[in-house]
């Protein structure tokens, strides 16, 4: 039927797969989650984006009834995660950061046991296990002990285990961390297909590209708080404009060129340290013509000119004020640059 349409309508009418309000969780003195609000529309892929230790996993664990929030409340399809936990568990599938399958058993045994726990009879459980293994390309490895599984195979088995009951909401905690690009793409395909089949997916990721690629909406989370929320395009727009990159042929002219850029475009500029390019926000494309004329008038020769749309990386940097990469030097260098460039 018009399943998809119905879902979209409901979402507009306020039918939320996830509604979290002011979630707080402290571990000792550390407020891992510090007042998180989330609203995930039914039938969408929702990305929770943040660096390590931002509180993504803790948030997911609270939503998935694995952890009780200190403060705040959350509802899954309208059911309270604390008071109606057992109902919530019937509506969700959880794939954690670390594969939650039984190491000492085979893939088939794992899936059969989970299926039986979910109420399938013995033969039905076996059928279901075979079906899922086939679907996730694990049939050949079905009887092997999990110890010999690669990281990718383990993840796939883990996801398969989450899908036994065909839950309408699936939590994926960093589903592609540690996977090679090919396996990662397979995982993305699977996630897209799940949503096509009517599921809602809430995934966490450290990778901006992943959020960009998959998510309909994104919440950026940092130090246990949601610092930005919206569609990918909204977030990009919130950072503002595209950037103009100017490469100067003769580096002696760099300062003069910068002055011209700042005067004509009437903005602050910065110089990238790696390749000595001038970077300036480009609010009005028309002015670039004036700029180029002025530069030629000053006798400065350009080596290169390019315009770049803001990337999610920049969005993240702008919002959180620090880099996503753990590589601190690179991150601080970049944020410095962005800081000047965007005023």
């Amino acid at each position: 039927m018009s399943n998809n349409q119905g879902k979209k309508l409901l979402a507009v009418n306020g039918d939320w797969a996830v509604e979290a309000c002011g979630l707080v969780k402290s571990f000792g003195t550390n407020r891992a989650v510090d007042g998180v609000d989330l609203k995930v529309p039914t039938g969408s892929i929702y990305g929770v984006l943040g660096p390590n230790g931002a509180g993504k996993t803790t948030t997911i664990r609270m939503l998935a009834t694995l952890l009780r929030a200190d403060e705040g409340s959350a509802r899954i399809f309208g059911y309270d995660v604390v008071k109606e936990a057992q109902i919530v568990r019937q509506l969700i599938g959880v794939t954690g950061q670390y594969a939650s399958v039984d190491e000492s058993l085979s893939a088939t045994e794992n899936l059969v046991i989970f299926s039986q726990l979910l109420g399938l009879g013995r033969s039905a459980a076996k059928r279901k296990a075979a079906e899922l293994l086939e679907e996730f390309g694990l049939t050949e490895a079905a009887k092997r002990p999990l110890k010999n599984f690669s990281g990718g195979m383990r993840r796939r088995l883990d996801l398969a285990a989450s899908l036994i009951a065909q839950p309408p909401l699936i939590f994926l905690d960093e589903p592609t961390t540690g996977l090679d690009p090919r396996t990662r793409n397979q995982m993305w395909e699977t996630i897209r297909r799940l949503v096509k089949e009517g599921s809602t997916v809430l995934l966490t990721t450290q990778y901006l590209q992943e959020a960009d690629e998959l998510a309909d909406r994104i919440a950026v989370i940092d130090h246990g708080r949601v610092v930005a929320e919206g569609t990918v395009n909204e977030l990009k727009a919130s950072v503002g404009t595209s950037s103009l990159y100017l490469g100067i042929k003769n580096l002696q002219d760099l300062q003069a060129a910068r002055q011209i850029v700042e005067r004509v475009l009437n903005v602050g500029s910065s110089v990238s340290t790696e390749d000595g390019k001038i970077i300036a926000p480009m609010a009005d494309a028309d002015r670039v013509t004036d700029l180029l004329i002025a530069i030629r008038g000053a006798g400065i020769q350009l080596a290169e000119l390019s315009v770049q749309k803001p990337t999610l990386d920049e969005v993240f940097l702008t919002i959180t004020g620090h880099g996503v990469q753990e590589d601190a030097s690179k991150a601080s260098d970049k944020s410095q640059k962005e800081g000047v460039g965007r005023g």
Binding site: A17, R61, G96, Y98, F114, L117, P168
Partner: protein, 271 residues
């Protein structure tokens, strides 16, 4: 998954309470998981196979002459005693393994599934009755080889075996509780030994209580382990069922009634 679309949340029949039959079926599935694990790692049965053989041989020949005059007349005293001691010591492993198991990611999945909360625990404990059975059968077999001929007959010996297994299962809830609250598997082992060592040795398992100092006698007489040992002796040596059996069963029920809810509560709270 070949079916193209999922049932939306609003069209599902949902219940917030687990029925009793569901709880039983979940527990049985978890027990099946435990059995599969034992089959995959048979080396974890080392203790239940070796301990009965070594302990029975050792204690019988060490104490036999001193306590009962000769080994032959000590056998009816020591076999029930060693049986209870061995099987109950085995139940410590339940707590240790539970701790190790819970540290693995798979318990996260159990928690997120709509299953009875008690099932991962009761299933593990249920699967471990296979260990108690192995230990029981081996102890009686060793006794038989050494010349023990219980007068109670096979039927009463079987009832005695069943009694020991049931009581060990109940006591394993104590160790399961330690397993859930302890931080590491080795600390579970440590705490459990401290509890169990005095309980099994300060009983009538190896020596007649009458030979002990007054204060110890008092403890030995109220020690539930003594009642269990006496019940097993009555059953296998004379085929009689006495007050001690009732006390043992009541004790077992009390332990389960206290520690099963405690363990489940601690398990739920632990994250």
């Amino acid at each position: 998954m070949k079916s193209t679309s999922n049932t939306p949340a609003t069209d599902r029949r949902l219940r917030n309470k687990m029925s009793f039959s569901q709880t039983v079926s979940n527990s049985l599935t978890m027990a099946y998981r435990g059995l599969l694990k034992i089959r995959r790692t048979p080396e974890q049965l080392f203790d239940v196979t070796l301990q009965p053989i070594i302990f029975t041989l050792m204690f019988t020949y060490i104490f036999g002459g001193a306590i009962s005059g000769n080994v032959q007349s000590y056998l009816p005293v020591i076999i029930p005693g060693i049986l209870v001691q061995t099987v109950i010591t085995t139940s410590i492993v339940t707590g240790v393994q539970l701790r190790e198991d819970m540290d693995k990611g798979v318990f996260d999945r159990f928690k997120s599934l709509p299953i009875a909360r008690i099932a991962p625990l009761s299933g593990a404990l249920l699967a471990d009755t296979i260990r108690y059975t192995i230990a029981t059968v081996l102890t009686f077999t060793m006794g038989y080889i050494m010349g023990y001929r219980p007068d109670g007959g096979l039927g009463h010996v079987a009832i005695a075996a069943l009694l020991v297994i049931v009581c060990a299962w109940s006591i394993s809830w104590i160790f399961a509780f330690f397993g859930v609250i302890a931080r590491t598997a080795s600390s579970v082992q440590g705490i459990s030994m401290i509890v169990l060592f005095p309980l099994t040795f300060l009983s009538n398992a190896f020596v007649p209580a009458e030979t002990l100092p007054k204060l110890l006698q008092w403890f030995v007489k109220i020690n539930p382990i003594s009642h269990l040992v006496t019940a097993v002796r009555d059953l296998s040596n004379s085929g009689t069922i006495g007050w001690d059996l009732t006390i043992s069963l009541i004790g077992a029920a009390v332990i389960v009634a206290i520690f099963a809810p405690l363990t489940v509560r601690a398990y739920m709270r632990r994250t």
